[in-house]
């Protein structure tokens, strides 16, 4: 019998394993890995000019890069040939049916964090309202993870929203456009702050200096195309390191279906995907870290519950293009990244919601990915993409997860998840932000805003929320699932609320906290 069985290898699984390293721990996961990438070194745009044909690398021999032409839209990051392992087979292994929620899940080692934006923001006391834990409960774990993976950024005007990081690496280099926005914001800072807008450097789990044996970031623009960039933290790095040092046992190729508590432990049933047979594993504790959707499915399946509707949270998104007219026709800055350039916080005086935005450049995707999204002829779109790209930044605005009781997830008898999530922007925040940016020379219009479908943020949470007095399908402050003795929920499923922030850093810290408690109970 294992001391603990951990299901999943994403952010929650990795830091649960990190907490329990050295104990008799088993990690069960499907665990797909990226293909060997031998020939994609250097800067994307230099490669595109120098190599006659990058079909294999950017489109793929199986035409993976054409995914969105003939299948349901997924993030551009998830469809390139060397990155498509992240979403391999997910729709077959965990089918989801929904008319308004475009869910994505990953069965890759490291989970969806193989393609994350690497934004690491601590939750504040306000963010944790509704949680049965306090910021002080998480802070030591934030610090520990920060040291482990390395975070670049600055303790600037956003520190009061993102929390002070004691050991930051130098911030990422800014593009001319991002640098210009930041300079103009600083000149008119008082005016911006009166409108509730603060702009600063992002906190990224991206190394700007070598750290723990990993190399620094190279500004090569390959985030959309090359997996396992050592400069960008991936939970698979931690899992592999622990497994290599025999601190944990890793079994990949297993899809966990359900669990059953019995005397002295938990029996976990998983399907061996290579043989098709069902195998059982025994642990004194079970830590569910399969991602919010995966964990919810396992819990409902274990209870044979095809009726209950669990709550679900997701960050609605708005995408606002910003144009600096003086940069029309400039050269594209090719030594850039597809990572966030700046972060923005918007707090409307008349609304309790605090919104967070990330400003991106436009050098990540291929032009063909976006050519047909604007209401112009193809040739005109190509011309606009060529001359406007250097003048364009994208503000991705995250709204907090909505606690609307009509949003739900449930398991159907055929094993598919049924999800409903309704949300519609009233465009008030978008219009105010557009007006504020216009005052510093950046133009946009509400008509140009795009609203990706719900589910696109990949920030899913809150299906088995932590409560002070947990009830059915809820978890206690220690992450233990109500009605069980040793089943813990360590991923986003146990979040009590979802502020407008990337939740990954808090998933990691909370998983570390929960698994440390499990370790203490074992000792």
């Amino acid at each position: 019998m294992y001391d603990a069985v951990i299901v999943g290898s994403g952010p929650a699984g990795a830091f649960s394993a990190y907490a329990l390293q050295g104990r008799n721990v088993l990690i069960l996961d499907v665990g797909y890995r990226p293909p060997k990438v031998s020939d994609l070194e250097g800067n994307l745009y230099v490669l595109r000019q120098q190599r006659e044909d990058l079909f294999e690398e950017l489109i793929g021999s199986e035409f993976e890069g054409l995914h969105n032409i003939h299948k349901r839209n997924i993030s551009l990051k998830l469809k390139s040939p060397y990155m498509s392992y992240i979403v391999r087979d997910w729709a077959e292994l965990m089918p989801v049916r929904s008319g308004n929620f475009e869910a994505v899940a990953s069965f890759a080692l490291g989970g969806l964090a193989n393609a994350w934006g690497a934004g690491v923001f601590r939750f504040t006391t306000k963010d944790l309202a509704g949680f049965p834990i306090k910021l002080a409960d998480l802070e030591p774990f934030y610090d520990e993870i920060s040291n482990h993976m390395g975070i670049s950024g600055a303790n600037d005007d956003l520190a009061s929203y993102f929390g002070a990081e004691p050991h930051l690496l130098p911030p990422m280099r800014l593009t001319r456009l991002a640098s210009d926005i930041l300079d103009r914001f600083r000149i008119r800072k008082a005016g911006f702050e009166r409108q509730g807008i603060t702009i600063g450097r992002p906190r990224l789990a991206v190394l700007t200096e070598p750290h723990n044996g990993r190399a620094a970031y190279q500004y090569d623009n390959l985030e959309f195309y090359r997996p396992y960039n050592p400069a960008i933290y991936n939970p698979a790095f931690t899992i592999d390191e622990l497994a290599a040092r025999n601190q944990v046992t890793l079994h990949t190729g297993y899809l966990v279906h359900e669990y059953k508590e019995q005397d002295g432990g938990v029996e976990v049933t998983a399907r061996n995907l290579s043989t098709g047979s069902y195998e059982k594993f025994l642990g004194k504790n079970l830590i569910l870290a399969a991602g919010t959707l995966g964990t919810s499915k396992i819990v409902l399946e274990a209870n044979r519950d095809y009726e209950s509707r669990l709550p679900i949270l997701d960050n609605p998104l708005a995408c606002i293009p910003l144009f600096r007219l003086s940069r029309i026709g400039a050269s594209l800055e090719i030594h850039d990244s597809a990572l966030g350039q700046l972060n923005l916080i918007y707090q409307d005086a008349n609304s309790p919601d605090l919104l967070q935005g990330t400003i991106y450049g436009t050098t990540g995707p291929l032009r063909s990915d976006v050519l047909f999204q604007f209401p112009l002829s193809i040739w005109a779109n190509l011309t606009w993409a060529r001359y406007l790209s250097p003048a364009m930044a994208l503000l991705m605005l995250f709204y907090p997860g909505s606690n609307d009781s009509s949003n739900y997830i449930r398991l159907k008898p055929d094993g598919a998840l049924d999800i409903n999530y309704e949300w519609k922007s009233n465009q008030v925040a978008e219009r105010r932000l557009i007006r504020a940016f216009r005052r510093i020379g950046y133009f946009s219009a509400a008509a140009l805003c795009q609203y990706p479908a719900m589910g696109s943020s990949l920030h899913y949470a809150g299906t088995l929320p932590m409560k002070t007095n947990a009830g059915c399908y809820q978890t206690g402050a220690d992450g233990r699932l109500y009605g069980t003795k040793a089943v813990y929920v360590a991923d986003g499923a146990c979040f009590s609320a979802l502020p407008a922030k990337n939740l990954t850093f808090t998933i990691m810290a909370n998983a570390l906290r929960i698994a440390r408690k499990v370790r203490t109970s074992l000792e």
Binding site: R48, D53, I328, L366, S377, I378, W379, Y387
Partner: protein, 136 residues
């Protein structure tokens, strides 16, 4: 299957000639055919007939595509042209079509204005062609 292949090759040549002035590379044609088999394995008869009409009558596919896209009509033509753009974009000789290599504000603004005018013209032409040939 041979007929299908010939039709797809003709499509590729027709669409390509609307946008690019250099000779169409052989690998792009091969990949266009294969990509269509994957993305559009079974076109409905109406869409098949529309594409065949555009190619055999040498109609302005850019104009028709714009009209259909704005009217939220069939996405087949958009998809086929998008496939072609993906296949050429990853080749170095087309880099300049996608990425600006001659910086200059005035020339860029003039081209953008020209592109906007072109859109107006293509939209009107496309709406007429869609009506004339009853494309949906």
């Amino acid at each position: 299957m041979a007929d299908d292949r010939t039709a797809l090759e003709s499509e590729a040549r027709h669409f390509y000639a609307l946008f690019f002035r250099r000779p169409l590379p052989g690998p792009v044609v091969e990949r266009y055919v294969a990509a269509n088999h994957l993305c559009f394995p079974a076109l409905d008869p109406k869409a098949r007939e529309m594409v065949a009409t555009i190619v055999t009558r040498r109609l302005d596919a850019e104009a028709i595509e714009l009209a259909l896209r704005l009217r939220k009509g069939s996405r087949v033509l958009t998809g086929k042209i998008q496939i072609l753009f993906y296949l050429v974009e990853v080749r170095s000789e087309y880099y300049g079509y996608f990425i600006n290599q001659a910086p200059g504000w005035w020339s860029a603004v003039l081209r953008l204005l020209g592109a906007a005018v072109r859109t107006g013209w293509k939209c009107a032409k496309g709406l007429y062609l869609v009506w004339r040939y009853d494309f949906v």
